[in-house]
C-alpha cells in the first residue's frame, strides 16, 4: 500500500492505495467520483479522460500512485458552483454533442485540453484532436460542431479578458 494525495476538482484527498490501482478506479471507487467512466481495458476509448496537471490523460492508463501530488480536473468540476455550465458543456448541449452521454465526460475533458493547445482549430484538426476518444452514438458530427463552437467562445473569452 502507498499513501497518496491527489487534488480533485479543488479538493484534497489522501488515501492508502494498492500499487496496482489505476487512477480511474481510485477516482471512481475510492473517491466516489463516478462522473469519470470506463469503456475499455486497452486505453482506446477515451471515456476515462481527465486532466492531470492540465494535460488530458486516459485515467485507465496511469496508476493512482503516479498521480500522487497531482491536480486532477474531472467532468464534475467543470460547471460553476452555481450550476452554470462551462462553455464546453454549453456547446455540447447546443450542438447535440451527446446522445447516451457515456463518452461525454472524456470528450469534454479532452476538448478543454485540445482547445487550450489549439485555440483556433479547423474542423479537421478537431477531428484529429479527438481521435483518442470514441463515441458510438453521435457519429461525431455534433461533437465536432460543439468543439468548433467552444473554441470560438473560448477565444472570445480570452480576447475579452
Amino acid at each position: 500500500m502507498a499513501r497518496i494525495t491527489v487534488n480533485v476538482d479543488g479538493m484534497n484527498f489522501t488515501h492508502e492505495v494498492e500499487p496496482r490501482t489505476l487512477l480511474v478506479h481510485h477516482l471512481r471507487e475510492t473517491l466516489g467520483k463516478t462522473g469519470t467512466v470506463v469503456g475499455c481495458d486497452t486505453s482506446n476509448c477515451g471515456a476515462c479522460t481527465v486532466l492531470v496537471d492540465g494535460e488530458s490523460i486516459k485515467s485507465c492508463s496511469v496508476l493512482a500512485v503516479q498521480a500522487d501530488g497531482a491536480e486532477i480536473e474531472t467532468v464534475e468540476g467543470l460547471a460553476a458552483a452555481d450550476g452554470t455550465l462551462h462553455p464546453v458543456q454549453q456547446a455540447f448541449h447546443e450542438h447535440h454533442g451527446l446522445q447516451c452521454g457515456y463518452c461525454t465526460p472524456g470528450m469534454l475533458m479532452r476538448s478543454v485540453c485540445f482547445v487550450r493547445e489549439n485555440p483556433e482549430p479547423t474542423e479537421d484538426e478537431v477531428r484529429e484532436g479527438l481521435k483518442g476518444n470514441m463515441c458510438r452514438c453521435t457519429g461525431y458530427q455534433g461533437i465536432v460542431s460543439a468543439v468548433m463552437a467552444y473554441s470560438q467562445t473560448a477565444g472570445e473569452q480570452e480576447a475579452g479578458r
Binding site: C45, T74, E94, Y102
Partner: protein
C-alpha cells in the same frame, strides 16, 4: 452543412412543439457527470462477481476444480454449473419454424463449452480485484473438440457438430414465397425462363455480411439487491420489462418478486436487448448469498460474449428484362447463429426476408433461409436487425444489374421503384408500404450531391488514369421499423406482443408525469415525448416529466428496440393524453356550466365554441384533486392509460449517395462526400433526428470500411479488443449532408415513421457500391466488407492478374 429547415420555430400553431429542435433536457446530468450508470452503484455489503470464460472454442469439460479459488483471499463463494442446480435454461423468444432446434444454454455451462468466452464458473468476492485474482486459481481441464466457424462449412454433411446431441448444425429453415403468399409469381420459373431468353438477363451473386458487434461504449453492468422489498436488479439494458418476464419464466423467481431497473444506459443499438446469462447469474448468486452483488463486464469480455450481428452468406438471383425491369428475385440465405440462441437470434434473418425486394416492384419473389450453428458467439439484433442485411443484398444487386445492362444505377432503380401514386403498395414479400415518394427524395439528393458534376469528374479521372479513382455509391432504401403489430408477430411465432403502453398522470399543480414502457439510451425520449404531450395537452414543455426504465413505476412495456419508441410508444402517449382530455371534458363543462358537446379544446384550454373565456386543463386538474365540486359519479382523477398496437409497421425510406475516393496504390478508401435525403414522416425534433441519422451513418460506414469480428479457424476471437476491432473515431468519418422529405405515415395519427436504423441500413451498400464503382474499370467486381486497404489492394491486384492472364491465354 445540415440543411434541415429552420428547426427552432415550429410551423404548426396547433402543434407548436412538434417539429421544434428543442435542446435536450437529458443533457445536463450527462454533461456534469451526474448520470447514474449501473457500474456507479455501490450498496452496503455489496460483493463483486467475476466469471471464468472458456479460452477454447469447443470442448468437453473433463474436470473443474474450484477449491483453491474458494479459499482465496476475499472470496465469498465460487460456483460452477453443477453447483447451481436451480439455474434455468436461458430462453429464446422466437421459435421461427417447426424444425427449429434449441440447444441447451444455461447461465453457467454444464459439461461443455461451445465458443470462446462461454462461461464455466462464477466467483463472488469482496472486491473486483479479489474476484478476478481468484479466477486464476480455478483449474479446468478441457478436452478439445473439432470446431466449425464458417457457416457454409457448418451446413455440410460431416462438419464438426456444435451440439452433437442435435445431430445437425442446422438450427432452422424458413421461407417466403410470393406464390404461396398469393402476392406474385413463381420466381424460380421466371428465372429459368429468363436464362434462355435473349431479351432478359439473370444476375447471380454471392454476397457476404461481415460479422460485427454493436460496441456500445458503456460495458454491460448488473447490480442485484436481494434484500429489497422486491428483489431489485439494476442493469444496463434496453429491455427491463423483457428481462423481468424472461427471468421469472426461466429462473427461480416470480415476476412480482422482481423489479428491474434500467438506470442511465450508455448506448444499446440492439446490443443491450438480451436477457443475459450474466443477469441471471448475478441474481442467482445474490439470492444464494443474500448479499447485493455486482458484475461489470470488461471490454474484452464484451467482445467475446455480448452478442454479435449480421454474418450471413447471401446467394441472390435477380432476373430482369433488357430495359431493366425486374421480373424475379430469389434469395438463398445462410445465417450464422453462433453457438446459442438469444432472444431474437433465429428471427433476425427472417425479418430481412420481408425486405429483400427493397423499394422495387418485384413480380415474383422467393426467400429461403438456413440458420446454422457455429462455434462462435451468438448473433442477434444490431441496429436494423435483418433489414440492413437485406438492403445490402438488393442494393448491391441493383448495381450489378445496372452494370450488366450498362445503365446508370439511378436509372435502373427509377425504372423499378414503386411510384408515388401506387401507395399503399402490397409487396411480393407480403407487406403493405403505406406511403412514400421515392422520386422526390432521390431528386433532392441528386441535386444536393451534384451527381452529374461528380460523374464528369469520375470520367476525367478514369481517362487520366488517376491513381485516386472516384466512385459514386447509391442506395435507395426502405426500412421495416416499429416492431409490432402483435397479430403479425404472432403469425411469425414471435414470443411477445408488439404493443406499447403509456400512462399520462396529471398532478394537482397541473404538472404532468408521463410514464412510458420504452426506455432511452441516448435517443432523447424525455425531450421528444414531452414535446408530443405538450402539444396534445396544450401545456408548457417544462411542466412535463418522463418516467421510464423501471418496472416498478413504468409497470407495462415492451421496451426499446427495432425503432419502436416513437412509432409505437409515441402513439401510446398520444392515446393516453387524448383520454386525459376526454376525462377532463365533462368536468370542464360542469365548471363552465356548458354542454360538453359545445366545448372545444385548443391550446390546453376548454372553452365554449366561439368564446374566449374558458378553463385550462391544468386548472381542471386542481379542481379534480380538490374534488369539492365534481359532476356526480365522476372519478376524481385525470390519469389515463393507453396501450397502442399499430396495424402496420412503419416504413422510413430515402436515398443515400456517397462519393468515395479509392487510392489504387494503397487500397485506402476515403469517403469524400455523403448525402442522404430521408423520408421519416413527421419529425418531432429535427435535432434529435439529425443525431440519430449521423450516428447510424457512422455505424453503417463502419460496417462497410472498418469493423469485423474475426475468428481463426480454431475459433479464437482475433478481434477481441477495441485495439483490433476498429470502431471509427472522429477523423475516420466526415460531415454528412442530410435533408428530409415528408410523406406522412398513414398508419398512425402523428404521421411519424422511424429513424434510428436508417443509417446502418443504407450506408453499407452506398459505400460498397461506391468503392466498386471506382474500381470496375480495373476489373474489380466484388470486395467483401469491410473494404479495408488490404482487401481493396488485393482485389485490384487480383483483377489485374486476371486481366494479364486473359491476355496471355487469348
Amino acid at each position: 452543412m445540415t440543411t434541415t429547415s429552420d428547426p427552432t420555430v415550429a410551423e404548426d400553431e396547433q402543434r407548436p412543439e412538434i417539429g421544434r429542435a428543442r435542446l435536450r433536457r437529458e443533457d445536463e446530468r450527462a454533461l456534469t457527470g451526474r448520470t447514474r450508470w449501473t457500474d456507479d452503484m455501490t450498496l452496503p455489503g455489496m460483493v463483486h462477481l467475476s466469471v471464468l470464460r472458456s479460452p477454447v472454442a469447443h470442448a468437453t469439460i473433463t474436470s473443474l476444480d474450484t477449491a483453491e479459488a474458494a479459499r482465496a483471499h476475499g472470496v465469498v463463494g465460487v460456483w460452477t454449473g453443477e453447483d447451481l442446480p436451480e439455474q434455468g435454461a436461458m430462453p429464446t423468444a422466437w421459435t421461427v419454424s417447426d424444425d427449429m432446434k434449441t440447444p441447451p444454454y444455461f447461465p453457467l455451462s454444464v459439461g461443455a463449452v461451445k465458443h470462446v468466452g462461454d462461461i464455466v464458473a462464477v466467483v463472488a468476492a469482496t472486491s473486483k480485484e479479489a474476484a478476478e485474482d481468484a479466477l486464476e486459481l480455478i483449474d479446468v481441464d478441457y478436452d478439445e473438440l473439432p470446431v466449425v466457424v464458417d457457416p457454409l462449412a457448418a451446413k455440410q454433411e460431416g462438419s464438426p457438430l456444435v451440439h452433437p446431441d442435435l445431430g445437425t448444425n442446422v438450427c432452422a429453415t424458413w421461407g417466403l414465397d410470393s406464390v404461396t403468399l398469393g402476392t406474385g409469381g413463381d420466381a424460380a420459373a421466371v428465372i429459368r425462363e429468363a436464362e434462355s431468353d435473349p431479351d432478359q438477363v439473370v444476375v447471380r451473386r454471392t454476397l457476404r455480411q461481415n460479422r460485427i458487434t454493436p460496441a456500445y461504449i458503456e460495458p454491460r453492468s448488473i447490480v442485484v439487491d436481494p434484500n429489497a422489498e422486491q428483489v431489485t436488479m439494476w442493469s444496463a439494458t434496453q429491455v427491463p420489462h423483457i428481462v423481468r418476464i424472461l427471468m421469472s419464466m426461466t429462473q427461480p423467481i416470480a415476476e412480482h418478486e422482481l423489479r428491474v431497473v434500467a438506470p442511465d444506459v450508455g448506448g444499446g443499438f440492439g446490443g443491450k436487448l438480451q436477457f443475459t446469462r450474466e443477469e441471471a447469474l448475478v441474481l442467482l448468486v445474490a439470492r444464494r448469498l443474500r448479499l447485493p452483488c455486482k458484475y461489470t463486464e470488461t471490454r474484452s469480455e464484451s467482445m467475446q460474449s455480448s452478442h454479435h450481428a449480421r454474418d450471413q452468406v447471401q446467394e441472390l438471383t435477380l432476373a430482369a428484362k433488357r430495359d431493366g425491369t425486374i421480373t424475379a428475385l430469389d434469395v438463398d440465405l445462410t445465417a450464422d447463429m453462433g453457438a446459442y440462441l438469444g432472444i431474437l437470434t433465429a428471427g433476425i434473418p427472417l425479418l430481412g426476408g420481408f425486405m429483400f425486394n427493397g423499394i422495387y416492384r418485384v413480380p415474383a419473389y422467393s426467400f429461403h433461409c438456413t440458420d446454422v450453428f457455429t462455434n462462435k458467439t451468438m448473433t442477434d439484433a444490431y441496429r436494423g436487425a435483418g433489414k440492413p442485411e437485406a438492403t445490402f443484398g438488393i442494393e448491391r444487386m441493383m448495381d450489378e444489374l445496372a452494370v450488366e445492362l450498362d445503365l446508370d444505377p439511378i436509372e435502373v432503380r427509377r425504372r423499378n421503384w414503386i411510384r408515388a401514386e401506387e401507395f399503399p403498395y402490397a409487396t411480393a414479400a407480403g407487406l403493405t408500404y403505406d406511403s412514400g415518394n421515392y422520386d422526390q427524395a432521390t431528386d433532392k439528393a441528386l441535386a444536393m450531391f451534384r451527381y452529374d458534376e461528380l460523374r464528369a469528374e469520375q470520367q476525367r479521372r478514369r481517362e487520366a488514369k488517376d491513381p485516386v479513382q472516384l466512385g459514386i455509391g447509391v442506395c435507395t432504401f426502405v426500412e421495416l421499423s416499429g416492431l409490432a403489430p402483435s397479430r403479425v408477430l404472432g403469425g411469425l411465432n414471435y414470443g411477445s406482443g408488439g404493443w406499447e403502453h403509456s400512462t399520462v398522470r396529471m398532478l394537482p399543480t397541473g404538472k404532468v408525469e408521463v410514464v412510458v414502457g420504452t426506455t432511452s439510451h441516448g435517443q432523447g425520449h424525455a425531450t421528444a415525448f414531452s414535446q408530443i404531450v405538450a402539444d396534445e395537452l396544450g401545456i408548457p414543455f417544462d411542466d412535463i416529466i418522463l418516467i421510464s426504465g423501471d418496472t416498478a413505476s413504468s409497470h407495462k412495456g415492451m421496451d426499446t428496440y427495432g425503432s419502436r419508441s416513437l412509432v409505437v410508444g409515441g402513439m401510446a402517449i398520444v392515446g393516453a393524453a387524448r383520454k386525459v382530455v376526454e376525462k377532463a371534458r365533462p368536468i370542464a363543462a360542469h365548471l363552465l356550466e356548458a354542454s360538453a358537446d359545445d366545448l372545444e379544446f385548443v391550446g390546453g384550454k376548454f372553452s365554449v365554441k366561439g368564446t374566449t373565456s374558458g378553463v385550462t386543463i391544468q386548472e381542471i386538474m386542481l379542481s379534480t384533486w380538490l374534488a369539492h365540486d365534481l359532476p356526480d359519479g365522476l372519478e376524481p382523477n385525470l390519469d389515463a392509460d393507453f396501450t397502442f398496437d399499430p396495424e402496420n409497421f412503419s416504413y422510413p425510406t430515402g436515398t443515400h449517395l456517397a462519393a468515395v475516393e479509392v487510392d489504387t496504390q494503397t487500397g485506402r478508401v476515403r469517403v469524400r462526400d455523403y448525402v442522404c435525403v430521408q423520408d421519416v414522416g413527421v419529425i418531432v425534433n429535427p435535432m434529435i433526428v439529425d443525431g440519430q441519422v449521423h450516428g447510424g451513418l457512422t455505424q453503417g460506414i463502419a460496417q462497410a470500411l472498418y469493423e469485423e469480428i474475426q475468428y481463426s479457424d480454431e475459433g479464437q476471437l482475433t478481434s477481441g479488443t477495441l485495439a483490433d476491432y476498429l470502431v471509427p473515431a472522429a477523423p475516420d468519418v466526415l460531415r454528412y449532408r442530410t435533408d428530409t422529405t415528408v410523406t406522412e405515415a398513414t398508419t398512425n395519427t402523428l404521421g411519424v415513421k422511424a429513424v434510428g436504423e436508417t443509417g446502418t441500413t443504407a450506408a453499407p451498400p452506398a459505400i460498397v457500391n461506391g468503392v466498386l464503382d471506382a474500381l470496375r474499370p480495373l476489373g474489380v467486381t466484388d470486395i467483401t466488407m469491410p473494404c479495408t486497404p488490404l482487401k481493396v489492394w488485393t482485389a485490384i491486384h487480383e483483377a489485374s492478374a486476371r486481366a494479364t492472364e486473359g491476355q496471355v491465354t487469348a
